[in-house]
Symmetry: C2
């Protein structure tokens, strides 16, 4: 029924997507809080007021659930990046926007987003796809740094390592942020500045 579902968007399909999305968020929450191995399908189902078997209406198996969580996490990052690139002025300002948008998504309505701890245990096709998404995102961020160096807003640096450093910070957020709105506000306020503080050309 999933890949079998045709393109034309009837109300049933919309509801299906919506519910599946709720499910992915619930799963992300469980994975982040209880860890992957500590999360049974029953845990996810409980959060939704369903029984574990009902989840199989939405995903083929647990691996696919993880896979979909990761794709969703990647999508969120990509959306933030695209929006930043669209709106941004120079390289540095675009980096700041991207950080703000991405964090906004992660700690806000769209969240939570699953931390990608278990990519290697996905089945090969899924794993490769997620790795590719992740690789593309890193590349886009590095390109942003290059752009900033080019337009003089960012001081020359090792973009690969700088990217790794900043992305690591972002990726780790779901590990310690668990939904407290006051903290959300705080992260959103502080992180973009902290993470971009070392970048500016002097």
């Amino acid at each position: 029924m999933e890949s079998a579902r045709p393109g034309t968007e009837n109300p049933v399909d919309t509801r299906f997507r919506l519910k599946r999305n709720r499910m992915l968020k619930a799963a992300a929450r469980c994975f982040n809080i209880k860890g992957y191995s500590g999360t049974s399908l029953k845990d996810v189902a409980d959060l939704l007021g369903l029984t574990d078997a009902a989840l199989y209406y939405y995903v083929r198996n647990k691996q696919e659930l993880v896979y979909l969580c990761y794709v969703r996490a990647a999508d969120v990052g990509r959306d933030a990046m695209q929006r930043a690139v669209r709106d941004g002025e120079d390289g540095l300002e675009t980096v700041r926007r991207y950080l703000r948008y991405h964090i906004e998504y992660m700690v806000g309505e769209q969240g939570p987003v699953a931390i990608m701890s278990e990519i290697p245990s996905l089945k090969p096709e899924h794993r490769d796809e997620v790795l590719e998404l992740s690789r593309k995102h890193s590349a886009a961020f590095e390109a942003l740094l290059e752009r900033g160096i080019g337009d003089g807003s960012i001081a020359p640096c090792d973009v690969r390592m700088t990217g790794n450093a900043i992305m690591g910070s972002l990726n780790w957020i779901p590990k310690w942020f668990h939904g407290d709105p006051a903290v959300a506000e705080n992260i959103l306020e502080e992180f973009p500045r902290i993470l971009s503080a070392g970048l500016a050309a002097r």
Copy 2:
């Protein structure tokens, strides 16, 4: 030193510790590369040229293996911190030292260090102990930032969030660094500078 084995250090105990330590490194490597759920005890055993059942001579069960990996990871961080505090001059310089030492340990001989993805699925006593170690380490790092702000080497900032940002970067390293010595060199060269670039008082 663990519960069953008495304090006086005979050669047998030393060998036991050494072997167990090798085992913890092998496990850390597996967990980081294959993910927790993707790592069976056989995987760890294979890396050591042993059979899976042999591991039970060193740990009570898989949970304890994870727990010991995490304690070891925490120890490494604590050692780096203590060494930095001992050798450091002002706050900022001590932060830089800590970063250098900690990364040196992670990517060098002492590594690999397990990424702490599965704390929540440890049994309560173990979980609480690891969380406490982790909390203490964060507190020590924040104290370092305070010290730097006090002595004027670091610009005033939200130490909690700054700590989260920098620690996130560090914690994420085992996710993408898998032993390539050239990369190790590169991280060691770049990260301390990148991560402390935004801190200096102007």
